[in-house]
């Protein structure tokens, strides 16, 4: 028996970003003699996390969100000491690696180093973000503001300041933009082309741009507006500016607008601006499909939006189909997935890293299988009490605040999602685990390697209970992405994951499997 030793160090006011800290934690955890290690900022969520792991003490309780905690459990004092040194070394080697480059300490000094800078990418904790974004605007920079937890009042103030200076504020809470072929934040390596996107959703841009890319089409620019831009309070300030910019942009032939349904006032304003455009506009207010003016079309899903945009570019429209593959092949695949299931296995458990993909799945699933519960539901009554516990059919947005304060986004850090997959596999009522796998810049460098062992274990767990667990996923990505969609698909398929070409199709397929084929009639019409 080993007796393990604990060490906790709190470094006051030493800020490091959550992704860097995740890498340090992972590497130190692998050192010989270390049983567990966590290096993180002392946010309430992270404090709970390390207390649960057995690291307790008044120094942890007293630490605040800007303090760094190093917590290590190891077999001996020497290992403890050497692993703490390793942490310090990794944290400072990052700094020294950058030492050859000039590393200014403030935005103002960065502007002196790069006087012709034209954009600030800001991804610091939300409570400091407005201050720095305002500094950036005052220095004449456009802003990509990834940070969330910025109030609507501050958002309006920033966007008004931008307007008077003819600058653009993408965000707060902006996950993705593609400007002149350059990906900001999370985004895929897609072709350049003639479709311009304005989107309140980062994964919306990712799904639509990758689907267009798979058809050989490309993106002129994709302007992220931030998740709250179309709230009544903000009134679509960045969306309107985005439409105006794409209207003037000669590379853009078709405009796609993506958002969850906005409030009525903002919706009217934006639709009016869209109807004035000389270019065709595809409006994808997820779940809303009413037809409007002649040059506009309404897309219910992200997949529809990509199909309609492609129709405009190619000059030929194609009708909606539930699946890319033929009905008979889809039905036989669904049947083979559900054949080993017990009677009790009835429910879909969607575990999402993309908030909009989670929303889109609910839009697709609700008419097929009835109510879907979520921590980000379509309607308030669909809210689950505890995001950590599924109920009947559930889709969880694992990128929502309760899961990410002080932690990397689930597109980067798969650990919470992996635990949740196993949790769902143990539930005898789970028929299908439904996943999104998002590739591209910003995301985890090898999601399939992360997921494969967990999915194999999850299927074994269910098997040991006399059940068959179906795992269905879509991969949002391209061949040119650093992770290569083909490589990812091959590895996931080898773990028994059924892959669909879009998130909407993955949701439909999950419904087919969970209903043991019963929703086939709704999907394929009355022919069956």
């Amino acid at each position: 028996m080993y007796s393990y030793l604990f060490k906790i160090i709190v470094e006051k006011g030493n800020y490091r970003d959550s992704v860097t800290l995740m890498k340090v934690s992972n590497e130190v955890s692998k050192l010989k003699g270390v049983s567990q290690a966590a290096v993180l900022m002392a946010t309430p969520l992270n404090k709970r996390f390390i207390t649960d792991a057995g690291f307790e003490g008044s120094e942890v309780e007293k630490a605040g969100p800007d303090d760094l905690i190093i917590a290590i459990e190891a077999a001996s004092g020497e290992v403890l000491q050497s692993s703490v040194s390793r942490v310090e070394e990794m944290l400072s080697s990052r700094a020294s690696m950058e030492a050859e480059e000039i590393r200014p300490r403030t935005l103002a000094s960065a502007v002196k180093v790069m006087p012709d800078a034209n954009l600030a990418l800001i991804s610091i904790p939300g409570r400091f973000a407005k201050r720095e974004a305002m500094n950036a605007l005052e220095s004449g920079l456009d802003v990509f503001l990834f940070s969330s937890n910025v109030s609507r009042e501050d958002e309006v103030e920033l966007k008004e300041a931008a307007k008077t200076r003819s600058l653009l504020v993408m965000g707060p809470d902006c996950g993705t933009s593609i400007i002149n072929g350059v990906v900001l934040g999370f985004g895929n390596v897609v072709r350049r082309g003639s479709v311009g996107i304005v989107s309140a959703s980062g994964t919306g841009i990712q799904q639509v741009s990758t689907l267009l890319d798979s058809e050989g089409l490309g993106i002129s620019h994709a302007i992220g507006t931030g998740g709250n831009d179309l709230s009544e309070k903000v009134g679509g300030m960045t969306t309107m500016e985005g439409i105006r910019l794409l209207e003037k942009d000669e590379d853009t032939r078709v405009i796609v607008l993506i958002s969850k349904p906005p409030g009525p006032k903002t919706s009217a304003t934006v639709l009016k601006a869209a109807s004035r455009s000389s270019k065709p506009v595809v409006i994808n207010f997820l779940g809303e499909g009413d037809a409007v003016a002649s040059k506009q079309v309404r897309a219910v899903t992200l997949e529809d939006a990509a199909r309609m945009a492609s129709g405009f570019v190619k000059g030929k429209r194609t009708g909606a189909r539930p699946f890319s593959d033929s009905e008979s092949r889809v039905m036989s695949l669904a049947q083979s997935e559900s054949s080993g299931m017990s009677k009790k296995q009835r429910y879909i458990r969607g575990l999402y890293s993309g908030g909009t993909l989670c929303y889109e799945s609910q839009v697709v699933l609700s008419p097929l299988i009835g109510e879907v519960f979520s921590n980000a539901p379509l309607k308030p009554e669909g809210r689950i009490e505890d995001a950590n516990v599924s109920r009947e059919n559930t889709c969880v947005d694992m990128g929502s605040e309760e899961f990410v304060v002080g932690r990397p986004h689930p597109m980067i850090d798969y650990s919470l999602r992996k635990n949740r997959i196993l949790q769902e596999a143990r539930d005898p009522e789970t028929a299908v685990v439904l996943l999104d796998v998002v590739l591209g810049y910003g995301s985890n460098e090898d999601p399939a390697r992360e997921l494969r062992p967990t999915i194999v274990s999850a299927k074994k767990l269910a098997g040991a209970g006399g059940r068959y667990l179906s795992v269905v996923a879509s991969i949002i990505g391209t061949r040119e992405d650093p992770q290569d969609i083909h490589k990812q698909a091959k590895e996931l398929a080898s773990a028994g994951v059924v892959l669909m070409p879009s998130n909407a199709q993955a949701a439909r397929f999950a419904a087919l499997v969970a209903s043991k084929g019963a929703v086939g009639r709704k999907l394929f019409g009355n022919g069956r």
Binding site: Y15, D66, V111, L121, G442, P482
Partner: protein
Amino acid sequence: MEDREPEKRSILKQKLKVISLGIEIFADDLKRQNVKVVSVDWQPPAGGDEELLRLLEKLGA
């Protein structure tokens, strides 16, 4: 010649040159795309002391 009129300036027409504050992989990914980036070694102002920060803001610091 570059268009220098302020009201016609659009980010869509410019080669991006970026100042990055925060998550380091975002700056790294821009460098992979051959974009010029300056990363700020950002730390919370006033050591993250919210009281002091509010005071400094009042003083216009």
